[in-house]
């Protein structure tokens, strides 16, 4: 699958592995792919994110991802669904963190250095990469670039898509800045 990935897309995948390792996560998750995308410079995805005004708001995105991880990786929409059942997710998070420390529900290990094994990609992260491949195929692009990874993150339900949408980055807005109004015109390059 990776043979069709551009250098930029491969750098995002590598960056995601590094982010996973740094946070003590046992898997590379879609959030790590988004964090790696935020680090990019002079790529098609970074161009799109800059055009949508996200470059200056990267820290806000990172904080939102961190907050979601602390509440067991659940989206706000999921927290609302739980509230509908009478379950107060934030109350659960604060009780657990009181007893077991900040970030206890994140699934990340506190002893970050100890876990040195190879990190596997979570089901969610694999879905993102597969969706990126399909996005490229659908546009008849011969290569999978980091912009396709960004597009995939905006379409798969979850914390990255919700966080991006909160910052004005949706499938529609990314398509618009990459490919022009309506997404019909192919961008040069």
């Amino acid at each position: 699958m990776f043979e069709r990935f551009t250098q930029d897309a491969r750098d995002v995948v590598r960056g995601a592995v590094a982010h996973g390792r740094r946070s003590g996560s046992q898997c590379v998750d879609p959030e790590h792919l988004l964090l790696a995308l935020l680090d990019r410079e002079a790529s098609r995805a970074s161009f799109a994110l800059a055009a949508l005004g996200l470059t200056e708001r990267r820290e806000s995105v990172r904080q939102a991802l961190d907050a979601a991880r602390r509440r067991a990786g659940l989206t706000r929409a999921e927290a609302d669904a739980l509230a509908g059942l009478g379950i107060d997710l934030s109350a659960i998070v604060s009780r657990v963190e009181e007893a077991h420390g900040v970030g206890a529900l994140s699934g990340d290990r506190a002893d970050k250095g100890r876990w040195s094994g190879r990190r596997s990609f979570s089901r969610g992260a694999k879905d993102v990469l597969e969706r990126a491949l399909r996005a490229a195929v659908a546009r008849r692009d011969r290569h999978v670039g980091d912009e396709h990874i960004l597009l995939a993150l905006t379409t798969l339900p979850g914390v990255p898509a919700e966080t991006l949408a909160d910052h004005g980055v949706t499938h529609a807005s990314v398509t618009r800045v990459l490919y022009g109004e309506g997404g019909e015109a192919r961008a040069a390059g």
């Binding site: 739980l82 509908g84 007893a99 529900l105």
Partner: protein, 69 residues
Amino acid sequence: MTEATDLAERAGDRDPRVGLRAVAALRRLLEQLEAVQVRSARHQGWSWQEIAAELGVSRQAVHKKYGRQ
């Protein structure tokens, strides 16, 4: 406007999507809660057998899931 607002409004309509999403969210929350409690028990020196008994599962099941960590 937001998805969250939509959901709150639909909750009254018994939209299956809201209920199903709540179940899926609960399952993921449960997984994390279990991991926290198992880790804590291990830190306090509990055996896999003792943890399994409290969780109501087999010793093999809990060891297979968390033993490697």
